[in-house]
Symmetry: C2
Subunit: 252 residues, 2 copies
DNA sequence: AGTGTTTATCGTCAAGCAGACGACTATGAT
DNA sequence: ATCATAGTCGTCTGCTTGACGATAAACACT
């Protein structure tokens, strides 16, 4: 039977990005201001159409580079350079999620170390890192007291799913190192966990856990005092990607 | 700016299903025989086009019902009736994954109790439950000695991802009960874990673990001897969906 | 009726890990 | 010199797990 174009409805396919980082002890996501209708002027997740000859992961990596200048990391290589971790999150395809047409969005999750200010087409006022609670609270008020409109489309749901994925994934994988610069201290890694989970962790037990897990951290030999206090050993991410037993997220 | 249809390439969007069950102590997946090119006559995962007015989850539930007669389970309700657990797995969009056209497939994972023989358009020879190792081994031979061609398209990858999702998810959730009938014994649940993980578990430690986890199992009061031996208590799935601490998968 | 087989269920023990927390160390700031 | 800050090493206790002995209740034989 020959291929019949009328047998299926045409869709637009986009990738949307949940780009997370830790800034000033808070879990932040990249948001861009929409320049066009619908939701003109509202904050949204970065994203765009998948091109005709492009894989989904390629499209996500391209959008990530366009918005942040980061290169996505090859998943086969351990996270240790300036590249961000990038993975598929979920796909959103409600028929009414875009009022213009039928759009299916393949959301991706990117984890990045703290970066310089974002750029969106070179216009800094149209892109920012915002704490995820600020982006997710409906009808709240921002840091400057101005009212904050909810994210465009179903992006609040996507962001929420991405944050939940990140929260659970750092439990049983070494992914938290993706939030850190190439060399980091145990305390910096602990502050990542504390920011992502929104809890305080015991520095002594955390230190025992991460240094005692084989393959998680590799000492570089150097030390730093950039956090103040006693100099701390510097580490790089080890080859291990799975944490067994996992890092336990405190209750409540 | 008005909507410009030339701004994005059109895609076909499908849902493909990884339907898993446990039959005769083996993890099995539903496969259907393709009636048309490409890959005519080869085994594939069930699936089909998403309709113009349909959500992705709706499309997956519809395909599941068409292929198996099962109703998908509302995720908000605990798994305890004949409905299958259904969740989104991942999305596959390589430009060359379908030689005819650009198709993005949103794969879903369904877990079902052992069911009567499947139906595919009423023709039993075109649908079957096959052990997942049989479907995944490339160029192997089936139970009857006939050569087995690999699954169509990228369905071996999708099936592999679905199996891996199921294997990891029963560790930390009560999802293994989705493979069981509404009432089941601890031994039957244990055989589910053994089939999905491909390991042998200690019956005494398993019993202690599952009966000691609050909210996992609810005794119905009845007993059964359908497995032979001493009568076993019957249970239903409790309300708990997360297992904490998780069920540990043995090493190696 | 007795014996063996099968499956279910309860108990014991030791090893490992996590949470709570004391103690000490090495920096910079005042 | 003293203090504040952060890092690192230990100790103790309780919980969970893995290994495995023992008992219980059914069925299938002889």
């Amino acid at each position: 039977m020959p291929y019949d174009p009328s047998a299926f409805p045409p869709f637009a396919v986009t990738v949307d990005l949940v780009v997370l980082t830790v800034r000033r002890h808070a879990l932040c996501a990249l948001a861009v201001r929409r320049g066009e209708a619908p939701f003109q002027g509202r904050w949204a997740l970065p994203g765009g159409f998948v091109r005709a000859d492009e894989d989904l992961a390629q499209a996500a990596a391209r959008e990530l580079a366009e918005e942040t200048g980061m290169r996505a990391h090859d998943p086969a290589v351990p996270v240790q350079d300036n590249g961000a971790h990038l993975e598929q999150l979920a796909t959103y395809g409600d028929p009414k999620r875009d009022p213009r047409m039928r759009v299916v969005s393949v959301a991706h999750l990117a984890l990045a170390p703290d970066l310089p200010a974002p750029r969106a087409g070179g216009d800094a006022s149209n892109a920012r890192w915002a704490p995820v609670e600020e982006l997710l609270e409906q009808g709240g008020y921002g840091r400057n007291g101005e009212p904050v409109a909810p994210l465009a489309f179903d992006h609040a749901q996507i962001l929420s799913d991405g944050v939940e994925r990140a929260r659970s994934k750092i439990e049983y994988s070494s992914l938290a190192t993706a939030f850190c610069p190439p060399e980091f201290t145990v305390g910096e890694l602990r502050r990542v966990y504390e920011a992502v989970w929104g809890v305080a962790l015991d520095p002594r037990n955390f230190h025992r856990k991460v240094t005692g897990t084989p393959g998680f951290l590799v000492p570089t030999g150097g030390t730093t005092t950039r956090q103040g206090g006693r100099p701390a050993q510097l580490f790089r991410a080890g080859g291990a990607t799975l944490l067994n037993p996992p890092m336990l997220r405190p209750e409540v």
